[in-house]
Symmetry: C2
Subunit: 163 residues, 2 copies
Amino acid sequence: MDRQLDRTDWRILAELQRDGRLSYNRLGRLVNLSPPAVAERVRRLEEAGVITGYQVTIDPAKAGLPLTAFVQMRCAPGRCLLKTTTAGDYPEVVEVHKLTGDSCTMLKIRTASMRHLEGLLERLGGHGELTSFVVLSTQYEGRPVEPPASELRPVTDSAGWSR
Amino acid sequence: MDRQLDRTDWRILAELQRDGRLSYNRLGRLVNLSPPAVAERVRRLEEAGVITGYQVTIDPAKAGLPLTAFVQMRCAPGRCLLKTTTAGDYPEVVEVHKLTGDSCTMLKIRTASMRHLEGLLERLGGHGELTSFVVLSTQYEGRPVEPPASELRPVTDSAGWSR
DNA sequence: GTTGAAACGAAAAAATA
DNA sequence: TATTTTTTCGTTTCAAC
Protein backbone atom coordinates (compact mmCIF):
# COMPACT_ATOMS: atom_id res chain seq x y z
CA MET A 1 0.00 0.00 0.00
CA ASP A 2 1.92 3.01 -1.22
CA ARG A 3 -1.07 5.01 -2.21
CA GLN A 4 -2.59 7.53 0.15
CA LEU A 5 -4.95 6.39 2.86
CA ASP A 6 -8.59 6.85 1.95
CA ARG A 7 -11.48 7.92 4.08
CA THR A 8 -12.27 4.39 5.18
CA ASP A 9 -8.69 3.70 6.25
CA TRP A 10 -8.80 6.79 8.43
CA ARG A 11 -12.09 5.73 9.98
CA ILE A 12 -10.54 2.37 10.79
CA LEU A 13 -7.49 4.04 12.32
CA ALA A 14 -9.72 6.37 14.32
CA GLU A 15 -11.68 3.46 15.77
CA LEU A 16 -8.57 1.42 16.54
CA GLN A 17 -6.98 4.41 18.24
CA ARG A 18 -10.10 4.62 20.37
CA ASP A 19 -10.17 0.90 21.06
CA GLY A 20 -7.32 -1.22 19.79
CA ARG A 21 -9.04 -4.41 20.85
CA LEU A 22 -12.02 -4.12 18.52
CA SER A 23 -12.82 -7.34 16.71
CA TYR A 24 -13.16 -7.28 12.93
CA ASN A 25 -16.80 -7.97 13.56
CA ARG A 26 -17.48 -4.79 15.53
CA LEU A 27 -14.95 -2.73 13.62
CA GLY A 28 -16.63 -3.66 10.36
CA ARG A 29 -19.99 -2.57 11.69
CA LEU A 30 -18.51 0.77 12.82
CA VAL A 31 -17.07 1.59 9.41
CA ASN A 32 -19.82 -0.05 7.35
CA LEU A 33 -17.73 -2.89 6.03
CA SER A 34 -18.00 -6.65 6.29
CA PRO A 35 -15.62 -8.45 8.67
CA PRO A 36 -13.46 -9.96 5.91
CA ALA A 37 -13.21 -6.61 4.13
CA VAL A 38 -12.13 -4.76 7.23
CA ALA A 39 -9.71 -7.54 8.15
CA GLU A 40 -8.08 -7.18 4.76
CA ARG A 41 -7.81 -3.41 5.19
CA VAL A 42 -6.18 -3.79 8.60
CA ARG A 43 -3.83 -6.45 7.28
CA ARG A 44 -2.74 -4.08 4.52
CA LEU A 45 -2.25 -1.22 6.97
CA GLU A 46 -0.06 -3.47 9.11
CA GLU A 47 1.86 -4.71 6.10
CA ALA A 48 2.43 -1.14 4.91
CA GLY A 49 3.80 -0.23 8.34
CA VAL A 50 1.09 2.34 9.01
CA ILE A 51 -0.05 0.22 11.93
CA THR A 52 3.02 -0.69 13.96
CA GLY A 53 1.36 -2.53 16.81
CA TYR A 54 -1.18 -2.53 19.59
CA GLN A 55 -0.41 -1.27 23.07
CA VAL A 56 -2.16 -1.00 26.38
CA THR A 57 -2.23 2.62 27.54
CA ILE A 58 -1.18 3.27 31.10
CA ASP A 59 -1.69 6.18 33.45
CA PRO A 60 1.89 6.65 34.62
CA ALA A 61 0.83 8.43 37.80
CA LYS A 62 -1.42 5.55 38.81
CA ALA A 63 1.41 3.16 38.06
CA GLY A 64 3.74 4.90 40.48
CA LEU A 65 5.43 7.29 38.06
CA PRO A 66 3.73 10.62 38.82
CA LEU A 67 6.49 12.85 37.44
CA THR A 68 6.87 13.65 33.77
CA ALA A 69 9.60 15.92 32.43
CA PHE A 70 11.05 17.04 29.14
CA VAL A 71 14.78 17.41 28.82
CA GLN A 72 16.61 19.19 26.05
CA MET A 73 20.14 17.91 25.70
CA ARG A 74 23.02 19.68 24.08
CA CYS A 75 25.57 16.96 24.14
CA ALA A 76 29.24 17.66 24.59
CA PRO A 77 31.48 16.43 21.76
CA GLY A 78 32.28 12.75 22.18
CA ARG A 79 29.89 12.32 25.07
CA CYS A 80 26.60 12.29 23.16
CA LEU A 81 23.92 10.34 24.98
CA LEU A 82 22.97 8.44 21.85
CA LYS A 83 26.54 7.36 21.16
CA THR A 84 27.82 6.53 24.61
CA THR A 85 24.84 4.93 26.33
CA THR A 86 22.21 2.33 25.67
CA ALA A 87 18.45 2.35 26.16
CA GLY A 88 18.74 0.01 29.11
CA ASP A 89 20.90 2.54 30.97
CA TYR A 90 17.96 4.93 31.18
CA PRO A 91 14.65 3.14 31.65
CA GLU A 92 13.09 6.43 32.76
CA VAL A 93 13.51 7.85 29.27
CA VAL A 94 10.36 6.97 27.35
CA GLU A 95 11.00 9.12 24.26
CA VAL A 96 14.13 10.22 22.43
CA HIS A 97 13.99 12.64 19.50
CA LYS A 98 16.88 14.17 17.58
CA LEU A 99 16.25 17.85 17.00
CA THR A 100 17.15 20.62 14.63
CA GLY A 101 18.59 23.74 16.16
CA ASP A 102 20.77 24.20 19.22
CA SER A 103 19.66 21.23 21.25
CA CYS A 104 20.60 17.86 19.88
CA THR A 105 17.93 15.76 21.55
CA MET A 106 14.60 16.05 23.32
CA LEU A 107 13.82 13.44 25.94
CA LYS A 108 10.60 12.61 27.70
CA ILE A 109 11.10 11.26 31.20
CA ARG A 110 8.92 9.41 33.71
CA THR A 111 10.06 9.12 37.31
CA ALA A 112 8.68 8.04 40.63
CA SER A 113 9.74 11.11 42.57
CA MET A 114 11.62 14.39 42.52
CA ARG A 115 14.51 12.57 44.11
CA HIS A 116 14.68 10.13 41.23
CA LEU A 117 14.35 12.95 38.73
CA GLU A 118 17.18 14.81 40.40
CA GLY A 119 19.44 11.80 40.24
CA LEU A 120 18.56 11.17 36.64
CA LEU A 121 19.21 14.77 35.59
CA GLU A 122 22.59 14.60 37.27
CA ARG A 123 23.51 11.47 35.34
CA LEU A 124 22.25 13.00 32.10
CA GLY A 125 24.19 16.16 32.84
CA GLY A 126 27.37 14.19 32.38
CA HIS A 127 26.71 14.11 28.66
CA GLY A 128 26.41 17.84 28.14
CA GLU A 129 24.27 20.88 28.83
CA LEU A 130 20.65 20.25 29.52
CA THR A 131 17.47 22.20 30.03
CA SER A 132 14.65 20.48 31.87
CA PHE A 133 10.94 21.16 32.07
CA VAL A 134 8.81 19.50 34.70
CA VAL A 135 5.23 18.81 33.68
CA LEU A 136 2.58 20.17 36.04
CA SER A 137 -0.32 18.50 34.31
CA THR A 138 -1.08 16.85 31.02
CA GLN A 139 -4.13 17.87 29.02
CA TYR A 140 -3.58 15.48 26.15
CA GLU A 141 -1.28 12.59 25.43
CA GLY A 142 -1.66 9.84 22.88
CA ARG A 143 -4.32 11.87 21.18
CA PRO A 144 -5.61 10.12 18.06
CA VAL A 145 -3.80 11.12 14.91
CA GLU A 146 -6.07 12.57 12.25
CA PRO A 147 -5.81 12.84 8.50
CA PRO A 148 -3.97 15.97 7.34
CA ALA A 149 -6.09 18.90 6.25
CA SER A 150 -5.48 18.11 2.60
CA GLU A 151 -7.55 14.98 2.98
CA LEU A 152 -11.12 14.85 4.15
CA ARG A 153 -11.07 15.18 7.88
CA PRO A 154 -13.69 13.53 10.07
CA VAL A 155 -15.69 15.70 12.43
CA THR A 156 -13.74 16.43 15.59
CA ASP A 157 -15.48 16.83 18.87
CA SER A 158 -15.59 20.39 20.10
CA ALA A 159 -14.65 19.59 23.67
CA GLY A 160 -12.09 21.76 25.46
CA TRP A 161 -8.46 20.91 26.13
CA SER A 162 -8.96 19.37 29.54
CA ARG A 163 -9.53 15.67 29.48
CA MET B 1 -6.43 -1.32 44.15
CA ASP B 2 -4.63 1.36 46.04
CA ARG B 3 -1.69 -0.74 47.01
CA GLN B 4 1.50 -0.71 45.01
CA LEU B 5 1.77 -2.82 41.90
CA ASP B 6 3.58 -6.09 42.49
CA ARG B 7 5.99 -7.93 40.27
CA THR B 8 3.25 -9.84 38.49
CA ASP B 9 1.29 -6.68 37.73
CA TRP B 10 4.36 -5.22 36.10
CA ARG B 11 4.95 -8.33 34.07
CA ILE B 12 1.37 -8.11 32.84
CA LEU B 13 1.80 -4.43 31.99
CA ALA B 14 5.05 -5.19 30.18
CA GLU B 15 3.41 -7.86 28.04
CA LEU B 16 0.38 -5.71 27.27
CA GLN B 17 2.60 -2.82 26.28
CA ARG B 18 4.34 -5.17 23.90
CA ASP B 19 1.10 -6.60 22.56
CA GLY B 20 -2.15 -5.07 23.74
CA ARG B 21 -4.18 -7.73 21.96
CA LEU B 22 -2.94 -10.69 23.98
CA SER B 23 -5.69 -13.01 25.08
CA TYR B 24 -5.97 -13.96 28.74
CA ASN B 25 -4.98 -17.40 27.61
CA ARG B 26 -1.59 -16.40 26.19
CA LEU B 27 -1.05 -13.62 28.73
CA GLY B 28 -1.59 -16.07 31.55
CA ARG B 29 0.96 -18.44 30.08
CA LEU B 30 3.48 -15.59 29.76
CA VAL B 31 3.21 -14.57 33.41
CA ASN B 32 2.59 -18.05 34.84
CA LEU B 33 -1.00 -17.49 35.83
CA SER B 34 -4.23 -19.18 34.88
CA PRO B 35 -6.53 -17.33 32.47
CA PRO B 36 -9.13 -16.43 35.11
CA ALA B 37 -6.43 -15.25 37.51
CA VAL B 38 -4.81 -13.01 34.93
CA ALA B 39 -8.19 -11.73 33.77
CA GLU B 40 -8.97 -10.70 37.32
CA ARG B 41 -5.64 -8.89 37.60
CA VAL B 42 -6.24 -6.99 34.38
CA ARG B 43 -9.76 -6.14 35.46
CA ARG B 44 -8.40 -4.67 38.69
CA LEU B 45 -5.73 -2.71 36.85
CA GLU B 46 -8.42 -1.25 34.60
CA GLU B 47 -10.70 -0.50 37.52
CA ALA B 48 -7.86 1.21 39.39
CA GLY B 49 -7.19 3.41 36.35
CA VAL B 50 -3.68 2.08 35.85
CA ILE B 51 -4.79 0.71 32.50
CA THR B 52 -6.65 3.49 30.69
CA GLY B 53 -7.28 1.73 27.40
CA TYR B 54 -5.89 -0.07 24.39
CA GLN B 55 -4.67 1.75 21.31
CA VAL B 56 -3.35 0.85 17.92
CA THR B 57 0.07 2.40 17.40
CA ILE B 58 0.61 4.23 14.14
CA ASP B 59 3.71 5.33 12.28
CA PRO B 60 2.77 8.96 11.64
CA ALA B 61 5.16 9.26 8.69
CA LYS B 62 3.61 6.28 6.97
CA ALA B 63 0.19 7.76 7.62
CA GLY B 64 1.05 10.97 5.81
CA LEU B 65 2.26 13.01 8.80
CA PRO B 66 6.05 12.93 8.44
CA LEU B 67 6.77 16.04 10.48
CA THR B 68 6.94 16.05 14.26
CA ALA B 69 7.71 19.17 16.27
CA PHE B 70 7.76 20.33 19.85
CA VAL B 71 6.50 23.81 20.66
CA GLN B 72 7.06 25.66 23.90
CA MET B 73 4.40 28.30 24.41
CA ARG B 74 4.64 31.32 26.65
CA CYS B 75 1.12 32.54 26.41
CA ALA B 76 0.29 36.23 26.51
CA PRO B 77 -2.08 37.27 29.32
CA GLY B 78 -5.68 36.63 28.37
CA ARG B 79 -4.76 34.81 25.18
CA CYS B 80 -3.64 31.50 26.65
CA LEU B 81 -4.09 28.64 24.22
CA LEU B 82 -5.77 26.48 26.83
CA LYS B 83 -8.29 29.15 27.72
CA THR B 84 -9.20 30.59 24.35
CA THR B 85 -9.21 27.57 22.06
CA THR B 86 -10.55 24.06 21.95
CA ALA B 87 -8.91 20.74 21.05
CA GLY B 88 -10.81 20.61 17.77
CA ASP B 89 -9.22 23.88 16.66
CA TYR B 90 -5.82 22.21 16.54
CA PRO B 91 -6.02 18.59 15.39
CA GLU B 92 -2.27 18.66 14.70
CA VAL B 93 -1.57 18.99 18.42
CA VAL B 94 -1.26 15.47 19.79
CA GLU B 95 0.06 16.35 23.24
CA VAL B 96 -0.45 19.29 25.59
CA HIS B 97 1.47 19.61 28.85
CA LYS B 98 1.45 22.47 31.32
CA LEU B 99 4.96 23.25 32.46
CA THR B 100 6.82 24.75 35.37
CA GLY B 101 9.20 27.54 34.57
CA ASP B 102 9.08 30.22 31.92
CA SER B 103 7.10 28.39 29.29
CA CYS B 104 3.49 27.70 30.15
CA THR B 105 2.90 24.76 27.84
CA MET B 106 4.74 22.16 25.79
CA LEU B 107 2.99 20.89 22.67
CA LYS B 108 3.78 17.96 20.45
CA ILE B 109 2.76 18.48 16.85
CA ARG B 110 2.25 16.22 13.83
CA THR B 111 1.92 17.76 10.39
CA ALA B 112 1.88 16.68 6.78
CA SER B 113 4.44 19.20 5.55
CA MET B 114 6.61 22.17 6.37
CA ARG B 115 3.95 24.34 4.83
CA HIS B 116 1.37 23.03 7.25
CA LEU B 117 3.75 23.40 10.15
CA GLU B 118 4.47 26.98 9.15
CA GLY B 119 0.79 27.84 9.04
CA LEU B 120 0.18 26.14 12.36
CA LEU B 121 3.04 27.95 14.09
CA GLU B 122 1.67 31.24 12.80
CA ARG B 123 -1.73 30.52 14.24
CA LEU B 124 -0.21 29.39 17.54
CA GLY B 125 1.93 32.53 17.59
CA GLY B 126 -1.21 34.55 18.05
CA HIS B 127 -1.43 33.27 21.60
CA GLY B 128 2.01 34.37 22.72
CA GLU B 129 5.71 33.75 22.31
CA LEU B 130 6.74 30.35 21.12
CA THR B 131 9.87 28.32 20.62
CA SER B 132 9.68 25.43 18.20
CA PHE B 133 11.84 22.38 17.69
CA VAL B 134 11.54 20.25 14.59
CA VAL B 135 12.26 16.58 15.08
CA LEU B 136 14.85 15.13 12.70
CA SER B 137 14.34 11.55 13.76
CA THR B 138 12.81 9.65 16.62
CA GLN B 139 14.76 6.92 18.38
CA TYR B 140 12.05 5.99 20.83
CA GLU B 141 8.42 6.81 21.33
CA GLY B 142 5.81 4.94 23.28
CA ARG B 143 8.55 3.03 25.01
CA PRO B 144 7.15 0.65 27.62
CA VAL B 145 6.93 2.15 31.07
CA GLU B 146 8.88 0.20 33.67
CA PRO B 147 8.59 -0.11 37.42
CA PRO B 148 10.51 2.60 39.31
CA ALA B 149 13.91 1.63 40.64
CA SER B 150 12.53 1.25 44.15
CA GLU B 151 10.57 -1.77 43.00
CA LEU B 152 12.03 -4.87 41.45
CA ARG B 153 12.77 -4.07 37.84
CA PRO B 154 12.59 -6.71 35.14
CA VAL B 155 15.65 -7.26 32.98
CA THR B 156 15.87 -4.67 30.22
CA ASP B 157 17.37 -5.55 26.90
CA SER B 158 20.75 -4.02 26.32
CA ALA B 159 20.05 -2.87 22.76
CA GLY B 160 21.16 0.59 21.66
CA TRP B 161 18.98 3.68 21.25
CA SER B 162 18.18 3.21 17.60
CA ARG B 163 15.10 1.15 16.93
C1' DG C 1 -16.52 -6.21 -1.16
C1' DT C 2 -20.39 -9.28 0.55
C1' DT C 3 -22.67 -13.19 2.29
C1' DG C 4 -22.80 -17.63 4.42
C1' DA C 5 -20.63 -21.68 6.61
C1' DA C 6 -17.27 -24.01 9.15
C1' DA C 7 -13.49 -24.26 12.26
C1' DC C 8 -11.09 -22.30 15.62
C1' DG C 9 -10.21 -19.95 19.81
C1' DA C 10 -11.55 -17.39 23.78
C1' DA C 11 -14.36 -16.34 27.82
C1' DA C 12 -17.45 -17.45 31.54
C1' DA C 13 -19.20 -20.54 34.76
C1' DA C 14 -19.26 -24.45 37.38
C1' DA C 15 -17.04 -28.18 39.47
C1' DT C 16 -13.05 -29.89 41.76
C1' DA C 17 -9.10 -30.17 44.33
C1' DT D 1 -8.95 -19.84 47.21
C1' DA D 2 -7.07 -21.01 42.79
C1' DT D 3 -7.12 -23.99 38.96
C1' DT D 4 -9.02 -26.97 35.74
C1' DT D 5 -12.65 -28.40 32.75
C1' DT D 6 -16.69 -27.80 30.15
C1' DT D 7 -19.88 -25.34 27.66
C1' DT D 8 -21.19 -21.49 25.20
C1' DC D 9 -20.34 -17.70 22.57
C1' DG D 10 -17.92 -14.80 19.42
C1' DT D 11 -14.51 -14.26 16.04
C1' DT D 12 -11.89 -15.45 12.13
C1' DT D 13 -11.21 -17.46 7.89
C1' DC D 14 -12.45 -19.74 3.75
C1' DA D 15 -15.34 -20.42 -0.26
C1' DA D 16 -18.85 -18.91 -3.39
C1' DC D 17 -21.23 -15.12 -5.47
